[in-house]
């Protein structure tokens, strides 16, 4: 028998039994263990981890024209490079799970035939300072890459070998993660830190993180710690300024499919694909193969792509199913807010507004969605 339609619960069960030992299963459990660690000890901990592992963290790389720092998640060489008070990384830490370019297989070409070799080996890595929205973005990617048909072994390898240390922050002007319900993370990390003055309040969600933390004199949560933690959380909550109404969005996407709004914003779109590159959840890709100059080796490579690029839906023979910029822009929103909603009961967008910042034409998701809702109300 083949192509049997398997119900969702059975799929989940099969996945649980065969594919996801410990680490990924633990993700489903919300963090229940809390400890605090002084900032001094945290520094020691990071330095200790750095000695034996690759540690990734937010680093400032440049300044924009207003003089603000531009951050990226990069390999840390010393603790001083780690900027725990960073605002927003320009591109998302998705790069370490769905790298821009990744070799899927290599081929040794012979006179007659070839031999394929598949690369899935990933060395352990620690990412420090991921925001709640980025952690939620990973959970959304998990839905596609691991929990639907054909779980992806490359993503699986990276996910299994990455220790995630999250970090709370006060929202920026344009963050709308609260509207997208991704402003807090209850799972999907190993450790999640909240700054409560001289120490970090840590939610622990994996055994590895628990062991590491305990080696650096983490202490039990006192009543005062808890009060301070709650105060910080409240403060964070009160700082959200940007709101986007998404409740009616999935239906609106269908109703306003022919709306002028798409043309208005789409005509601005330069079809450069920057939005998808910096997005923490965009996962579209392309595959290319090439032969090296000696004609003995070939490589099959996956590279991130964007649905805004002109040839995204061009089929052999040259027919383009989405020839205009506004159609492609509409499709991007349609997938984010309608398509993903249909498949996984949540929107793909996490509300980080990285695409809005990166867009050279100044298209921001909030403006587009507000415009859509406005036409609906007219």
């Amino acid at each position: 028998m083949q192509d049997v339609v398997v119900s969702h619960s059975i799929v989940k069960k099969i996945l649980d039994i065969f594919c996801f030992p410990t680490a990924l299963q633990q993700r489903k459990i919300n963090a229940m263990l809390f400890k605090t660690i002084t900032k001094e000890n945290f520094k020691k901990m990071v330095e200790g981890l750095m000695e034996e592992n690759e540690v990734i963290g937010p680093k400032s790389r440049d300044r924009d024209k207003e003089g603000n720092k531009i951050y990226r998640f990069l390999k840390l060489n010393s603790f001083d490079e780690l900027e725990m008070d960073y605002t927003r990384s320009y591109s998302s830490p998705k790069d370490y799970f769905l790298p821009f370019k990744e070799d899927l297989a290599t081929y040794r070409l012979e006179d007659k035939g070839w031999d394929q070799k598949i690369h899935c080996t990933i060395h352990p890595r620690i990412i420090i300072g991921m925001r709640a929205c980025d952690i939620n973005a990973l959970l959304k990617l998990d839905q596609v890459m691991l929990k639907s048909a054909y779980p992806n072994p490359y993503y699986f390898a990276r996910r299994r070998n990455t220790l995630i240390i999250g970090l709370d922050h006060e929202p920026l002007e344009d963050c709308f993660c609260r509207s997208m319900n991704t402003d807090t993370a209850s799972h999907g990390f190993d450790l999640f830190l909240t700054d409560i003055g001289d120490r970090y309040f840590a939610a622990i969600n994996s055994d590895t993180a628990y062991i590491v933390l305990n080696r650096f004199n983490a202490r039990e949560v006192t009543e005062e710690d808890q009060l301070r933690y709650k105060r910080v959380k409240k403060q964070v909550e009160s700082k959200f300024k940007t709101q986007v109404d998404i409740t009616i969005l999935p239906e609106l996407m269908d109703l306003e499919f022919e709306s002028e709004v798409w043309k208005k914003w789409g005509d601005k779109c330069l079809s450069c694909g920057s939005c998808a590159m910096v997005c923490p959840t965009c996962y579209c890709y392309g595959v290319e193969e090439d032969i090296d100059l000696s004609f003995t080796q070939a490589t099959k490579r996956r590279f991130l792509y964007s649905c805004n690029l002109i040839d995204f839906a061009t089929v052999a023979g040259g027919y383009n199913f989405r020839p205009d910029a506004h159609i492609r822009l509409k499709y991007r929103y349609y997938h984010q807010f309608r398509g993903f909603e249909e498949a996984f009961n949540q929107s793909l967008c996490v509300g980080c507004n990285r695409c809005g910042k990166a867009c050279p034409a100044g298209i921001s998701p909030k403006a587009v969605i507000d415009d859509l809702i406005k036409t609906e109300k007219k």
Binding site: E51, N53, I118, H123, V144, A149, Y150, N152, F321, G339
Partner: protein
């Protein structure tokens, strides 16, 4: 005590040492491993299309490879690229997979330069199939335009192997020119042995063409359709769908009894790369075979 984070070596997982089974969609497997296959025979059909007889080299993998009519494979030429091709052979042909390929791009152009004996890679089968079991006891109307006959050929073989399950089977086939008609060398066999009715039409009359000239919809006047007892399978260029379905809907065939196979760009075949997304649906997972009702509810489908 060391602070080294333990490595989870994926290469030690059992799935890394067994060949993938693409019919078991939910298990973790080496999704990029292609089955080494040898091209056994190449039959030139027209100036642009060739039929490739392909045999999976490894006996175990060959045994395991099973598909249903309408499904497709990703055909890989290492170092050149990978293309989705629908399977044109009978599902009971365990030895060979037949793929009808038009020379249209980089990879297919290179494939056309291959000679028998060349080794290619195959991943699959992927996608949905024509629900042949649902059609038992009914008439089947197969409508193909141009290269659209390729995925239907597998259906024709199925119909022959289960001929007594079905009532009348009619094939309407339209092409641009007489020279572009595919599989015409089999028409007589299909008609006489398979007991199918075949009607062809071309858009531009060429030399030595005595058949009808016009669009595929012109053939409908020759075929009486019983809307309560007919399933339609349509495959062809997007422009054809609109007119054919308009007619079939007029005749009164329920939309859920009409099937079509969509064509989209694909880079993975597994619902990951999003290249084949139509509205919010993946052509590679939920398609390429859809019923017309579903397609009507998809944005930008046809």
């Amino acid at each position: 005590m060391s602070l080294k984070i333990p490595q989870h070596d994926i290469n030690l997982e059992p799935f890394m040492s067994r060949p993938p089974d693409f019919n078991r969609k939910s298990i973790l497997m080496q999704t990029e491993q292609s089955f080494k296959s040898e091209i056994f025979n190449i039959i030139p059909l027209t100036a642009w299309e060739k039929l490739f007889d392909i045999r999976i080299c490894d006996p175990y993998e060959r045994e395991q490879f099973t598909f249903l009519p309408g499904q497709f494979v990703m055909l890989e030429l290492p170092g050149c690229g990978e293309v989705p091709i629908s399977i044109s052979s009978s599902i009971s042909n365990k030895e060979f997979i037949e793929l009808c390929i038009r020379k249209v791009g980089k990879v297919t152009g290179m494939l056309h330069r291959l000679e028998p004996g060349a080794i290619v890679g195959i991943r699959g089968p992927f996608g949905t199939h024509f629900p042949m079991q649902k059609m038992v006891g009914c008439n089947i109307l197969l409508i193909a335009g141009g290269l659209g006959i390729a995925p239907l050929r597998s259906t024709i073989y199925w119909a022959n192997e289960h001929r007594s399950d079905y009532e009348d089977i009619t094939i309407l086939y339209g092409a641009k020119e007489p020279g572009q008609i595919l599989f015409d060398y089999q028409f007589e066999e299909w008609h006489k042995i398979f007991d199918l009715k075949i009607l062809t039409i071309v858009q531009n009359r060429g030399e030595n063409w005595e058949g009808r000239v016009g669009l595929i919809t012109d053939l409908f006047d020759e075929v009486p359709i019983d809307p309560d007892n007919t399933f339609a399978i349509v495959c062809g260029p997007p422009v054809m769908f609109k007119f054919v379905f308009a007619h079939l809907t007029n005749v009164g065939i329920p939309r859920q009894r009409m099937f079509l196979s969509l064509e989209r760009r694909m880079h993975c075949g597994m619902g990951k790369c999003c290249r084949c997304n139509v509205g919010s649906t993946f052509t590679c997972l939920d398609g390429p075979v859809f019923d017309y009702w579903t397609v009507m509810n998809l944005k930008e489908a046809i």
